[in-house]
Each structure stands twice: as C-alpha cells, then as structure tokens.
C-alpha cells in the first residue's frame, strides 16, 4: 500500500491517479521526446545552415554525425584508458570538443577538395546533392574503418538523476519516472548551443555576413564579404553541431553507424517543417517531429486507464502507429508540410 503524500481531503482516489497519468506521460512521452527533439534540432540546425549558405540538402550530414560520434568515442576510450573522467558526468562531454575539432577538420578538408570546385563552377544544387552522396559513402567508410559497424554504448558516469524506484519511493505514486543524465545533459547542451548559434548569427559581424551571403550572394560579394570565409565558418558550425547532435544521440540511445543514416530523414523533415534555411525554424521543427513521432507511436492505453472511468477504458493499445513506423511520422509531417505550406512554418526558400 503506497503512502499517499499528495492526498487531498476531497476526492482522494482521483487526484493521485491523475498524477499517475501525468507521470506516465512525462516518463514515456515528454522526457524522451524532449531529449530526442533536442538531438533532432541540433542536427537540423546544421543541415539548415549548410542549406542557407551553400544552398543544397546535404545527404552526408547523417554520416558526418556518425563520424563525429565515432571520433568522440575513440577519445572517450583513450581518456578512460588514462583514467581521466568527468564523473558523475559522462566522459564524452570531456571528449566532445576534441571530437568537434576532428570533425571540423574533416568537413573543411572535404570542402577544400570536393565542394569548392563545384562552388566555383556555380553548379546547380542537384549536383551538390549528388556530390554529397559521394561524400556520404566516404564518411561512411571512414566511420566504419574507425570503429566498425557494431553497436557501441559509451555512456559512463552517473546514469540516472532520478530512477524509477527512487521516484516511486519519494512520491508514493504507482507510476515511476526515470530521468537519465544523458537526457538532461542533452537538453542543457542544446539550449546552450542553439542560444550561442543564434547569438552568433544575430550579433557578430561574421554571423551577419553569413546571413547576408545566404540572402544575396552577389550583393554580399559586392559588399566585400569573403565567400570562402563564410563557407569555412558554415562548415565549422555544421560539423560542430553534427558532432554534438551525434554524441548526444549516441549517449541517449547507442551508437550504430547505420542509425545515423536513418536519422537523416527526421532531420531533413525538421529542417523543411521549420522552413529550410531558417535556424529558428529548424529547432522548432526538431521538436515538432520528435513529439509527433513519440506521441503517435506511444500506446496510450496505460495513460487512459488512469484518467477514464473503468468501463470506458479501451481494449486495444490505442497506439496509432507501431514503433517500427516511427520514420513514417517524419515522412507524413513532411508530406503535409509540402502539400499545405511548402515554405515551412517560418518562410524558408522553396525555389
């Protein structure tokens, strides 16, 4: 018999059940979706930046994330070998800056030896997309060479901030709630990073010149903005964001190179939903996609049993889509946006 700490004199039986429902929702929908949304937001921000400056959908972004994560994991192992740690935080946080630097170098090298040629040729966007497919293969091979194709877990340190049992004991509720370090970390890092990126774009000279270049390339050239510098900064931002997003995703779930290709679809969807080329839209899009995905693939029956009278509780799982179809959700939202408002929620470029 659990102790009812929140017992209220009137209608004693219903209130905790209502609380149980909220806890259930928080545990299975809100918390996971927020963390996932933050990861998608960071990924989509990188895609959208590349899009707005270099004007193409970068198919290699997923594999850039995978590479950045792989590089970070190697450094984590190195640190672990040396006994260096950041406990209770995961060692990955310590390794992340180094992983970002390595990934930046890779992205800059790619630009120098691959993309720059087409930029100077002023090739059409679709050629860039094709080239990014080639780059995707190379990144994929590099990642596999670095770390193989297996599943890797690299979360160390204190794994939970709130455990299910701890929560039950503390609150006396039937439903438990788990809050993982990686989830809280994901959200904190995402808030810090996006704030920094927005500040950079809005307030620094370089950031403004990036936006100017994205707005009107010819006029930017006439204003003396150096395109090579803009592109360099863009790749550094994209690579850093890709690494951060990839590492946070890997900490939260696990690292497998192939899943990083699959996550490309929700990331593209987030960028388009937000209005491609719009940094703020990309972040909003990330959360829209994540919440829709989790909410549509969640079995709502448990939640309903807490809030409905017993005779109204449905027999089925009340799950709109099974979890295997989670990528369908991104696609559905993408299709709806393309049909209804191709510019995205914040007007992006369509042509």
């Amino acid at each position: 018999m659990p102790i009812r700490k929140f017992a209220v004199p009137s209608s004693e039986a219903e209130i905790p059940d209502f609380l149980n429902a909220i806890v259930l929702l928080a545990n299975f929908v809100v918390i996971p979706a927020t963390a996932y949304g933050a990861q998608l937001a960071l990924g989509a921000l990188g895609v959208t930046l590349v899009y707005s400056v270099l004007r193409f959908a970068n198919f290699a972004h997923g594999d850039l994330m995978a590479f950045g994560t792989a590089a970070t994991i190697l450094i984590v192992w190195l640190f672990q070998g040396w006994g260096v740690s950041l406990a209770p935080l995961p060692t990955a946080i310590l390794a992340l800056p180094l992983g970002m630097i390595i990934t930046c170098l890779l992205a800059l090298g790619t630009d120098r030896f691959v993309y720059r040629f087409y930029r100077h040729q002023r090739s059409p966007a679709i050629v860039f997309v094709m080239v990014s497919v080639g780059v995707m293969f190379i990144y994929n091979a590099l990642t596999r060479f670095l770390i193989g194709v297996d599943d890797r877990r690299f979360e160390d340190g204190e794994r939970f901030i709130v455990t299910v049992i701890g929560f039950r004991e503390a609150t006396g509720l039937d439903q438990g709630l788990a809050l993982r370090t990686s989830q809280v970390l994901t959200v904190i890092v995402m808030v810090l990073v996006t704030t920094a990126v927005f500040w950079f774009l809005r307030s620094t000279r370089t950031g403004k010149s990036m936006r100017a270049y994205s707005d009107n390339e010819d006029l930017a050239l006439l204003s003396g903005i150096n395109p090579d510098r803009v592109v360099l900064v863009t790749w550094m931002l994209a690579a850093s964001l890709a690494t951060i997003a990839g590492v946070l995703y890997g900490l939260d779930k696990s690292f497998r190179p192939f899943t990083y290709f699959q996550i490309l679809l929700p990331i593209f969807a987030a960028a388009i939903v937000g209005g491609i080329g719009q940094p703020f839209g990309a972040v909003a899009g990330g959360f829209i996609i994540a919440f829709s995905e989790v909410a549509l693939t969640y079995a709502w029956r448990g939640f309903l049993t807490h809030i409905l009278p017993p005779d109204l509780i449905p027999a089925g799982l009340v799950q709109i889509l099974s979890v295997e179809y989670k990528f369908a959700v991104s696609f559905l939202i993408l299709v709806i946006v393309l049909l209804v408002r191709p510019t995205g929620i914040i007007r992006g470029r369509v042509f």
């Binding site: 193409f56 959908a57 198919f59 691959v114 040629f117 059409p124 966007a125 679709i126 050629v127 997309v129 094709m130 080239v131 497919v133 080639g134 780059v135 995707m136 293969f137 190379i138 994929n140 091979a141 590099l142 596999r144 060479f145 193989g148 290709f261 699959q262 490309l264 679809l265 593209f268 969807a269 388009i272 089925g316 709109i320 099974s322 295997e324 179809y325 990528f327 369908a328 991104s330 696609f331 993408l334 299709v335 709806i336 393309l338 049909l339 209804v340 191709p342 470029r349 369509v350 042509f351």
Partner: protein, 443 residues
C-alpha cells in the same frame, strides 16, 4: 566514328573482364555476376530515365525495387486459403474503409475551403485510418496465427512468376505517382528527400506487415521461371552437351540454369533499352531534354514542366520496379532486410553517373562496371588488407586492418562517384547532344 567505336570498345573490355572471371574463377560465378549486372543495368536504365531525361534525383530507388520485389510474392506464391478464411472478411472491410476514407476525403475537400479544408481532410483521413485499423488489426492477428512457421500470411495469387514483372512495375509506378504529385514542382532536392522518406516507409511496411509479406521471416520458395539445376541434370541432351565441353553434369546444370536467366533478363533489358532509346529520340524525348537543359525557357514556352517530370518519374520508377521483381525471381526468395539504401539506392546512382547520365547505353555499361567492381571489391579488399597486415607486427592495428577489409566497398563507391562527377561528369559514354538542345554557355 568514335561515337560507335568508344562504346563498342568499352563493352568489349567489360565482356572480357567477365569472361576472365569465367576462366580464372568459374563460369557459374561469371554468369551470376552477369545476371545481377543485367538486373542492375535495368535499374540503372530506370534511374537514367529520371535523371538523364528529366534531371530528377530519386533517393528512394531501394523502395521502388522492394515494391517490385513484393510483387513476385503477391503474384507467384500460392494463396493460403486458411488465411483468407481467417482474415479475409476483416481485411475486405479494412479495404472498404480505405476506399471509404478516400471517398470521404474527396467529398470533404469539395465542401470546404482554405485552411479549414486542410484540417478537415486531415481529420477525415485520421478517422478513416482508425476505422481501417479496427478491421485490419484482428485480420492481421488471425492471418499471422495460421501456420506461422511456414505461412502466417495471405500468400499470393499463384500466377506464373513472369506476370509479377510488369505487376512490380505497376506497383512502383503507383507509389512514384503519389510521391511525384507531392514533391515535384518544388525545389529539386525536395524530391530527393521525399523519395528517401517513401523508401523508408515502404521498407518498414514490408518488414512489419507480416500478414502481407511475412516480414523479416522472409518468403522462400518463390516459383522459378527457369528449370532448377536439379531438373536440368535430368535433361539428357543438356548433360551430353556439357559433357562434350568436358563439364560435369552438376556444373552443366548450374550453367544452364544461370544461362536461362541471363537470356530472359537480356530479353527484358533489350526491350526496355529499345523502348528507352526510341522514347529518347522521339519528339517527347527531345522536349524532355530541352526542359532539363533550360527549365525556365521551357516554362516560358508554356510547357507544363511538372507534368512532364511526373511522367518521367513514374516511368523510371516502373522500370526500377520491374528490375526489383526480377531480382526476387532470380533469388527465389523475398528478404526485406536485404534492401539497404546503400546497396540499392546509392550504388545505382554510382552506376548512372559513371555510365553517362542521359545515355542509355552508358547506363547499361555503368550497371555492369559498378556491379563488377562491387563484387570484386570484397576479394580485392581482403587481399589488400592481408598484404598490408603482413607488413605489420601482430597486434591491435593488424587485426583492425584485417577487420576493415569490407569497408573498402563504400569507399570505392564514393571515390568512383566523386572522381566521376569531378573529372568525367558526362560519364564513360557521354550523352549525344543534338546541337539544338545544347544549353547556351553562360559566362
């Protein structure tokens, strides 16, 4: 002159490379490579129709190939009567629900306007979906319970497997029509992203709707259009013919079986190639290329570019679907997990770009060259890794290098694609351009 000599020479080189495998390794291997190369060539033709004729980037080839593949199951496998009895009624009702939803959506759209129309449509579809699930879920459970270890699905129509090939094309064309309706007419890369998405969804459905495809349990034993090796062994004159070449009966049968497929595939490839060439050189083909080369001008001349693009997109996907059905026919089994984007989407792209976008003969050659490279990358990768490892002392690095041999494949594919785009963007056999369709050089 060199317009003929160059392709001829390249084809001759390719043929001798395959023959070399026959002499060095074995004829069955050479024929197996040929068969898959033929199928790849057909897929490449399909993608070339989209990219070469229309400039459309399809990032979901794997999905269309898989849709073609499922046609082989649905057409050729014998029906499972018990499953139909168990789930047929509910399944029929679910089907009616889908039709009803479509009808209701059309009705609702006719009665509403603007923003409200969008929401009303979405709501109708959602409601229809829920109704459909109410019937589909029990049907699916009932069907999957029927003899799950070997059946647990509806089976097919029990028709000859060759019927599945055009049906596969139709399936793919249908899916392409829907995606094209949504994504064409917007930015070129939106089509790429939308096709990437539809492919993921097609694959998810094929892996998870067990009542339809048995999902990851695979469908095996799909009827074959060519007598099996065992049957060939019993045919006297075949064995004798093999014997006169000094081949064992088993080897003869293996070769005869593969040769049968090769001829069949060659027939399909030849037909599609002939049609594709005719289309390319017809007024329609010239118009398509004119649109591709200068979309703005074509639009200004009153051409409905989006409609034309939808045409090539559907046509190209249909060809990919046919090839997908052929692939499953060759394997004799349907394995949803085998469809990876790397292998079936992006490698096909390498084939198109290397072969010569816009040139059908180039596309076919690209299919052969890249498939050959793909197959050979494994032994070569192993050799390279072994040679490299020999130079190293035993230890971590050495075993790492040995383990890394398979990763040579994506690396090679990426390299071919990038080098080709950079240094030979028109491919091995460049497109023949009529002077009138050449884009004016700007700057």
């Amino acid at each position: 002159m060199s317009r003929i000599a160059r392709p001829l020479a390249l084809y001759a080189v390719m043929a001798s490379l395959i023959v070399a495998v026959g002499f060095i390794q074995s004829w069955t291997v050479a024929l197996s490579i040929t068969n898959l190369a033929l199928i790849s060539a057909i897929m490449t033709l399909g993608v070339n129709i989209q990219w070469g004729y229309g400039g459309l980037f399809n990032a979901g080839i794997v999905g269309f190939a898989a849709l073609g593949g499922v046609a082989a199951v649905l057409v050729a496998m014998p029906p499972v009567t018990d499953s139909w009895i168990a789930g047929g009624t509910n399944l029929g009702l679910a089907g009616l629900a889908i039709l009803g939803t479509i009808g209701a959506a059309v009705f609702v759209r006719g009665r509403t306007h603007g923003r409200r129309r969008t929401w009303a449509t979405l709501f109708t579809i959602l409601a229809g979906y829920i109704v459909m699930r109410i019937f589909l879920d029990p049907a699916s459970d009932a069907i999957e319970a029927i003899n799950p270890s070997i059946q647990g699905y509806l089976g097919g129509l029990g028709l000859p497997v060759l019927v599945a090939w055009p049906v596969g094309g139709l399936f793919a064309a249908g899916a392409a029509y829907l995606v094209g309706k949504v994504a064409l007419g917007l930015r070129a890369d939106y089509l790429a992203i939308a096709t990437l998405g539809i492919a993921e969804i097609i694959l998810a459905i094929l892996k998870n709707e067990n009542w339809l495809t048995r999902g990851v349990k695979n469908v095996t034993g799909i009827p074959r259009p060519i007598p099996s090796e065992r049957t060939f062994q019993t045919i006297g004159w075949v064995s004798e013919l093999g014997h006169s070449f000094g081949l064992s009966p088993a080897m003869t049968a293996a070769i005869a079986n593969r040769l049968g497929y090769a001829l069949l595939f060659l027939l399909v490839l030849g037909t599609i190639l002939w049609l594709a060439e005719r289309a390319l050189n017809s007024p329609w083909g010239r118009m398509m290329r004119a649109i591709r080369d200068n979309q703005d001008a074509a639009e200004a001349m009153g051409k409905d570019v989006t409609r034309r693009h939808l045409q090539v997109f559907v046509l190209g996907s249909a060809v990919v679907g046919i090839a997908g059905a052929m692939l499953v026919t060759l394997d004799g089994q349907f394995t949803p997990t085998a469809y990876t984007p790397l292998r079936y989407t992006f490698v096909i792209w390498v084939m198109v770009i290397l072969g010569g976008s816009g040139n059908n003969w180039g596309a076919v050659l690209g299919g052969f060259v890249v498939w050959y490279t793909w197959v050979m990358a494994e032994p070569i990768g192993n050799h390279l890794a072994a040679a490299l490892a020999d130079l190293l002392p035993a230890g971590w690095l050495r075993s790492h290098i040995l383990d890394s041999a398979p990763h040579l494949r994506p690396f090679l594919m990426g390299m071919i694609l990038l080098l080709c785009l950079r240094f030979a963007p028109r491919g091995l056999i460049p497109e023949r351009r009529a002077p009138s369709t050449r884009k004016p050089e700007v700057n």
